[in-house]
Amino acid sequence: MVIRELELAGLPQASDPPIGPLSALLRRLTWPFRRGRAPQPHPATGFYTDTTVCIGCKACEVACKQWNQLAADGLNWSGNSYDNTAELSATSWRHVKFIEQFAANGRPTYPDHADSGAPSREVTLDQLLSGGGADRWLMMSDVCKHCVAAPCQHACPTGAIIYNEFANVYIQRDICNGCSYCIAACPFGVITRSDFDGHSHKCTLCYDRQRDGLVPACAKACPTASIQFGPVDELRDRARKRIEELHARGVPEAYLYGDEPGETYSELHSFYLLIDRPAIYGLPEAPFNPWLHLIGDYMRTIVSGLATVAAILAVLFLQGS
């Protein structure tokens, strides 16, 4: 059953006193301009996602949909292994990615078979315990990155996208007017405009749960602690220890993505432990904040415009004289 909570919100509430059409119009016009009192800031919170322990159970997706009452997207054939969510959307704020890394010729790359060239896909317990060879499944639960300097927040012309008291990037759904500039600005392809209400939607980092002192639904549901929630500083320490542990255990390719600011992008409050290139997981190799070009682009525009005006004036005056 598809739950359409937005339809419910549109229905008249029994507690609302009846108002005339003029009052309703006036209220509609003026209430977006009202400001509430800003809440006291809290330590920045976020997610640390350890992809090495993700088992692709999609409990996070289900928990997210259930808690946030997000409509189902249908079970579509994406062609990506067990991935039938395909991408983050206005109604899927969590998306588990499945990356199958198997030999292109269909042969398993377990050493015994690889050496003999036998086209068998049988795997023995000994092989599995000895490391499993080269073939592997990578899984990653993707979500909004809650960037410290978020291009979407920078772009939003209505002030709908804010940093809340937990330093999370939050879309005020009653303010967003669906201009889509945040979608154009996001380098991670997170935000999506809903066809249903025309507004932009994404992970809220369970703002409502956090305010009540609860852990976000996805982190709560994750059975392997792949998704960890907490104060970002603590998460970073935890993640760095995990990296050291993995390196010591013979996984030298493990690294953190987004835990520190780069030359062209801020750190992420939702960062990842990865063991392959970011692009393999559908993440940008080197995210770029488009606002770094803002002043230069304006300068070129102004210079170009003024040069054209000067040229117009020059020709007009030459002709006039």
Binding site: P32, N80, A103, A104, T109, A134, D135, P151, H154, A155, C156, T158, G159, A160, I175, C176, N177, G178, C179, S180, Y181, I183, A184, A185, C186, P187, F188, G189, V190, R193, S194, D197, G250, V251, D276, R277, A279, I280, Y281, G282, F288, P290, W291, H293, L294, D297, R300, T301, S304, G305, T308, V309, A311, I312, L313, V315, L316, F317, Q319, G320
Partner: protein
């Protein structure tokens, strides 16, 4: 780890997909971009012309402002219709964020609409004999409105290209000269509109002068257009076949610049000039549609 080298050569299907999502900006936005340029270009050109050479261009400029207002209203309507929730358009005015080109643009368009409306209202009231036609005070108020409108009109023009170039969308994000191209192109469109109005209203001296200016602006526009398409080239080459890229660049150039330039050079007949202006408009729409389409094409690819 065993087999590491072999694994690194394997790409996932996520890696071949565009990471960014495309905003639902389609044909409506191409028209919005055109009408934005038509209104701001016309106003700026009329204002510059009227203030610099009032004897020659003021009569045409007076006719230009109502047209600019009609184009502005059309543009605003397109902007509203393009929103996911058009009834929330006024939410744009909740905050003033100069760091957001869309916010700056909204405020610039709002600020630009006020003096433009005042100018048109004064002209309309004078035409309807509601206000004295020869009033010096009114003329000064009108001129003040023209001067005051200059900055927000320029802001309304400048934000548009920067709005696209400061995004993460394929093609647009590399377009450092998009704003420069739009600014130059809008003034060229303004000149073309003024020329068409001069021809239609029989101001032959103004038309002769504007014809020369338009030829110069057509030539000047090749510089930012060339720089822009050099920046787009890699993206376009990735998306389209070489022949398609060639056609996408050559057709608007030949149809929207070269042929109009020849028509303007050949003679000053009204059909020739109006034909040139029409081709410039069509070429401008084609280029804007191509620019808007790039992220969509990239996503489909």
């Amino acid at each position: 780890m065993r087999g590491d080298v072999q694994m690194r050569t394997m790409e996932s299907s996520y890696s071949t997909k565009e990471v960014t999502k495309v905003p639902g900006w389609h044909g409506l936005v191409a028209w919005d971009l055109l009408f934005n340029n038509l209104t701001t270009g016309l106003f700026l050109f009329a204002a510059v012309g009227e203030l610099a050479l009032p004897g020659l261009l003021a009569p045409v400029a007076k006719a230009a402002y109502p047209v600019a207002l009609v184009f502005l209203l059309t543009d605003l309507m397109l902007l509203v219709l393009d929103l996911g929730d058009p009834l929330r358009f006024h939410h744009m005015l909740r905050v003033f964020k100069p760091s957001s080109p869309m916010s700056l643009g909204t405020w610039s368009l709002t600020a630009y609409s006020l003096p433009l409306t005042l100018i048109v209202a004064i002209e309309a009231a004078q035409a309807l004999n509601l206000l004295p036609a020869g009033s010096i005070v009114l003329e000064w108020v009108r001129k003040l409105a023209v001067v005051v409108g200059f900055l927000p009109a320029f802001g309304s023009l400048a934000y548009k290209g920067v709005l696209f170039s400061t995004s993460s969308q394929p093609g647009w994000k590399d377009a450092r000269w998009l704003g420069g191209f739009v600014a130059n192109s809008a003034l060229m469109l303004g000149c073309a509109e003024m020329l068409a109005m001069s021809v239609l209203s029989g101001h032959s001296k103004a038309a002769a002068s504007l014809r020369t200016v338009l030829m110069l602006l057509l030539l000047l526009n090749i510089i930012p257009a060339g720089l822009l398409f050099a920046e787009f080239h890699n993206t376009l080459s990735r998306l389209y076949r070489e022949r398609q890229v060639y056609l996408a660049l050559v057709l608007p150039f030949v149809g929207g610049t070269l042929i109009p330039l020849i028509l303007l050079l050949v003679g000053d007949s009204a059909p020739g000039i109006l034909g040139a202006v029409s081709l410039i408009l069509l070429g401008s729409l084609a280029i804007r549609s191509l620019i808007i389409k790039i992220p969509h094409a990239s996503r489909e690819k």
